[in-house]
């Protein structure tokens, strides 16, 4: 029997703000000693009160707009009660029945470039918890630095059909969050996290199967692997005549399995009720318009524009819009190249070819590419090549040097004497020398094997360390051979 897979993802993304969600204390806790980025509010001392972070709300609304949600004119903070020491108030301030944003979608492309729209149920704003660390002596330690960091929860509709699509949805969402600058995208540090709800049902059955929640997936790969495993597990169970228990399972990356998580209280009753310490959020059209005005051109739109305006292939345009700094870099380089007669496609080839290779080889972050190599320097390489000052082989060498040293390609060419030798007079003596040293090839040529000249051109190139203009070298050689 065939089974249909249904997946919904809940993504938690920290909002990049200077201060925490409900007080002025610093939200930048990365690398800080435990409990040094805290306040009376984030420690929930008696008498402390929350004050909502305006910027965090603006950025969450901006995110909602980027994923095609409606920003609600009226939304409400609620208290979600559950006892755990990493939650110092004993409740989390979140949003429940009236979230900040609802009803959006993003488009997810498959390997073949086919796109599908995945619905977004809601985006709401809440606060992160502290971190509980279990010490070796069986005691528990708590670090409240993360407590109160602004968090968005983005809940998809159960529109995802496969583990691969789930991974691609999550990647797409991360791309958008990074693009608009609301999240660091750092999954290792937990700035971006993902839980999944997954069920399977026999083909033909209308009703969804029993839903299992999967937690603890800390990478894109983990999301896909965990879901592949879980779909397989559920399918096998159903095929064996078993039933699926509604439960929460954790992904064990080392073992490659999902494992049932023992819950002390069984199912939690969160006892949501409206947060009396915070008034409802009320926004008019002007406020929403102001958020929309902050929205940059998004990756899909920019990719389409690159295809249209620069004549790029889908693949190249997609690569060049992977992150916003890459797209910005590309367009800066295009502008520089076009001013010296280069083309947008030349730039795309250099960026997706040499530059990406060098970035990958050096482990450099794509967002820092402009610091490694000025966009003007790409234009400069293209210009040197177009003018015939250097040939393609030297161009790659100069590009690499410019990337390594940050130097101006024209300067590198000048300093190292890499200018192409296109003067036939200068090459004639060398050509005669090559002919003298390679009598066998000369003989073959004269017997009618004209392709032997290729070998001889190669010898001239070698002797000039690649600087000879290969066309000129060939002409000079042929002239000498035909004397």
């Amino acid at each position: 029997m065939k089974y249909i897979t249904t997946i919904g993802l809940e993504v938690h993304a920290q909002v990049r703000t200077a201060s925490k969600m409900f007080d002025g204390c610093s939200a930048d806790y990365a690398g800080k000693a435990p409990n040094t980025s805290v306040s009376v509010v984030s420690m929930a001392l008696p008498g402390s009160l929350p004050v909502a972070n305006q910027r965090a709300i603006e950025l969450a609304a901006l995110t909602g707009l980027a994923i095609n949600c409606t920003v609600n004119h009226h939304s409400v903070f609620s208290r979600k009660s559950y006892p755990y020491p990493d939650l110092p108030k004993g409740y989390q301030i979140t949003q429940f029945d009236e979230p900040l944003c609802s009803e959006g979608w993003i488009e997810v492309s498959s390997e073949s470039g086919e796109t599908r729209r995945i619905g977004i149920e809601r985006l709401h704003i809440e606060e992160d918890t502290g971190r509980l660390v279990h010490a070796s002596d069986d005691s528990s330690l708590i670090d409240y630095n993360r407590s109160g960091v602004p968090l968005m929860e983005i809940v998809s509709k159960p529109d995802i059909n496969s583990p691969e699509e789930a991974r691609r949805y999550f990647q797409k969402l991360r791309q958008i969050l990074l693009w608009i600058g609301v999240n660091s995208g750092n999954m290792e540090e937990g700035a971006l996290r993902c839980d999944a709800n997954v069920s399977v049902r026999p083909e033909g059955q209308v009703q969804f199967g029993t839903k299992v929640e999967i937690k603890n997936m800390n990478s894109f790969r983990a999301v896909e692997r965990a879901l592949v495993y879980e779909v397989q597990r559920q399918t096998s169970l159903l095929e064996a005549g078993g039933t699926i228990a509604q439960e929460t399972r954790g992904w064990n990356d080392a073992k490659g399995v999902t494992e049932g998580q023992r819950s002390k209280e069984g199912s939690h009753d969160y006892r949501y009720f409206p947060e009396p310490d915070l008034p409802p959020l009320v926004f008019d059209d002007a406020w929403v318009s102001a958020r929309r005005a902050e929205l940059p051109e998004l990756p899909d739109a920019r990719r389409a524009r690159f295809e249209r305006d620069y004549g790029l292939s889908y693949q190249d345009a997609d690569l060049l819009t992977i992150e916003r700094p890459v797209a910005d870099y590309y367009e800066a380089a295009v502008a520089a190249a076009q001013s010296v007669g280069g083309s947008a496609r030349d730039v795309a080839n250099w960026v997706t070819g040499e530059l990406f290779r060098l970035l990958n080889d050096t482990g450099e972050d794509y967002s820092r590419m402009a610091e490694r190599m000025l966009p003007q320097h790409i234009a400069s390489v293209i210009e040197l090549l177009a003018k015939g000052s250097i040939n393609r082989t030297v161009a790659k060498q100069v590009f690499e040097e410019s990337f390594a040293s940050g130097g101006d390609p024209a300067q590198i060419v000048a300093d190292k004497g890499l200018t192409q030798i296109s003067d036939s007079g200068a090459l004639a003596a060398l050509a005669r020398e090559v002919l003298a040293n390679n009598p066998k090839a000369v003989e073959e040529y004269r017997k009618g094997k004209t392709s032997a000249v290729q070998f001889l051109v190669g010898q001239v190139m070698r002797a000039t360390k690649g600087q000879a203009n290969p066309q000129t070298a060939r002409e000079v050689l042929e002239a000498e051979l035909n004397v």
């Binding site: 929930a44 001392l45 004050v51 909502a52 009660s81 108030k89 009753d269 009720f273 009396p276 310490d277």
Partner: protein, 484 residues
């Protein structure tokens, strides 16, 4: 001259300004009075004598400087649910025994900034849950008029300290009547301002949508002086409003001619003590004699206020008190595991009434019960609020009893929570509506004080204070002192 501890805030202000007394002398007199009467009254949980004297010296040094506020150099006692930097704040609970906040509540900071002298922290029902101060884990405070009786609650320490002349003024908090009831029981004045008028930052939360801080003192003029200092918007409390704070003392014109005073029939409840009703009705006649126009009015949803309150306040409390787990502050009862420690800490260190309300509130918010209880209570609250909106289209203020009885004997209602809850039947609706309520002494029943409750429009404390102060020009109940 009268003994310094007997001075009202207004009298002390005049004496300080005239240079007749010093803040240090006043503070020393009150510290001596506190020491003398504490064995009998037990109003204080902490006396900060050294700090008070230092503040008094600073006030004396700055005497006469321009910009000194109305409380400059004047001692005041602070209810122990208000955070005070460096001074223990227990909320009358074992679970906060030894807890010393690293910050001041906004009201405390404003008093300090205004040059007030903080005498110490005063007793209350645990987490402000109660009507008698008997729920304090640190012993009951007695009523200075009759030390076998309760001072009312939950701000019983705040009321008793003033009535016993241990402090000329105090701060209390009021979630369902906790300023007004003890003010009435102890024969002093007290005001619960409009919800949002005074910052709650640093007030240890009980019922967050109901809690409000207010002053308690002998006279309405005294209240105006304290309120002037503590009222106003605070960025740290999102529920505090930006409505401008008027000059409250300027509002005390003594003239209430033409003022429309509503008399809500529902507040003269069945079972009300005849002596209480007589005193209140006489006070209302006095207002008419002073030129006010009396209007019989109805607040039809009054009888739903008590059940509504006992869903909303405990529901909020059940979340507000979730943070007391012994992990970050307060004592911890050892156990074999983290969860056992938390359960033991909460099970052992919270008192019975607090545990009762946490359970009530948890139940009211539970899945399957939320709609029937919490949601329904919020709907009824809206109706109660509308009652007041409607009636304030007809009248300027309401005049009503504060409680059906005078102060009752210690222990009388401790085994009967419902009887205890009924003590607040006349004060709870005001918190649910969020409007301000003022209590002034208006006579005696069986030699125990009775309080008249005046209820005002939102953010119209000025009118309330004007009526109360005018009444005190006509009467002398506020000048009566217990024999202690």
């Amino acid at each position: 001259m009268t003994e310094l501890h007997n001075l009202t805030v207004t009298e002390a202000r005049a004496a300080l300004d005239a240079g007749d007394i010093t803040a240090v002398a006043l503070t020393e007199a009150l510290l001596a009075r506190i020491a003398a009467l504490e064995p009998t009254i037990h109003a204080f949980l902490a006396v900060t004598g050294e700090q008070a004297l230092a503040q008094a010296r600073a006030a004396d040094a700055a005497r006469g400087q321009p910009g000194n506020g109305p409380m400059h150099g004047i001692p005041i006692a602070i209810k122990d649910v208000l955070c005070t930097e460096g001074v223990p704040t227990t909320c009358g609970s074992r679970i906060l025994e030894g807890f010393t906040p690293p910050y001041d509540a906004t009201v405390v900071a404003r008093l300090k900034q205004g040059g007030a002298v903080l005498l110490g922290k005063v007793n209350c029902d645990e987490f402000a849950m109660g009507s008698s101060t008997e729920n304090s884990a640190y012993g009951v405070t007695t009523n200075p008029w009759d030390t076998s009786r309760v001072p009312g609650g939950s701000s019983g320490g705040s009321a008793a300290a003033v009535a016993a002349r241990q402090a000329p003024a105090s701060l209390g908090t009021d979630t369902g009547g906790s300023i007004r009831l003890p003010a009435a029981f102890c024969g002093i004045s007290g005001i619960k301002p409009t919800y949002g008028r005074v910052s709650r930052y640093g007030l240890v939360a009980y019922g967050s949508s109901l809690d409000q801080i207010g002053p308690m003192a002998w006279t309405v003029a005294d209240l105006a002086m304290v309120l002037q200092v503590i009222a106003g918007h605070d960025q740290l409390d999102s529920t505090s409003m930006t409505t401008p704070v008027p000059d409250y003392r300027a509002a005390l014109t003594g003239d209430i001619r033409g003022l429309r005073v509503g008399v809500p029939q529902e507040y003269f409840v069945e079972g009300m003590e005849p002596g209480v009703e007589h005193a209140v009705r006489t006070a209302i006649q006095t207002l008419r004699d002073m030129g006010a126009e009396l209007v019989e009015v109805s607040l039809p949803h009054t009888r739903y206020a008590l059940p509504t309150y006992y869903i909303i306040a405990p529901a909020e409390a059940s979340a507000n008190l979730a943070r007391y787990d012994g992990v970050r502050f307060g004592p911890r009862v050892p156990g074999d595991s983290m969860w056992e420690e938390i359960e033991r800490t909460r099970g052992t260190l919270f008192g019975a009434e607090v545990r009762r309300r946490i359970m009530l509130g948890t139940y009211a918010l539970s899945a399957g019960y939320y709609d029937a209880y919490y949601k329904r209570a919020q709907q009824v609250r809206t109706l109660i609020r509308r009652d007041f909106q409607t009636v304030f289209e007809q009248v300027d203020v309401l005049a009503a009893p504060t409680a059906p009885t005078v102060a009752f004997p210690i222990g009388q209602k401790m085994d009967d929570p419902l009887a205890m809850y009924l003590t607040d039947v006349c004060t709870l609706p005001i918190n649910l509506a969020g409007v301000p309520g003022l209590v002034v002494p208006c006579g005696f029943s069986a030699n125990l004080p009775v309080g008249l409750q005046l209820i005002g429009k939102p953010f119209d404390e000025s009118t309330l204070l004007r009526v109360g102060e005018a009444y005190q020009r006509q009467t002398d109940w506020h000048t009566r002192r217990p024999g202690i």
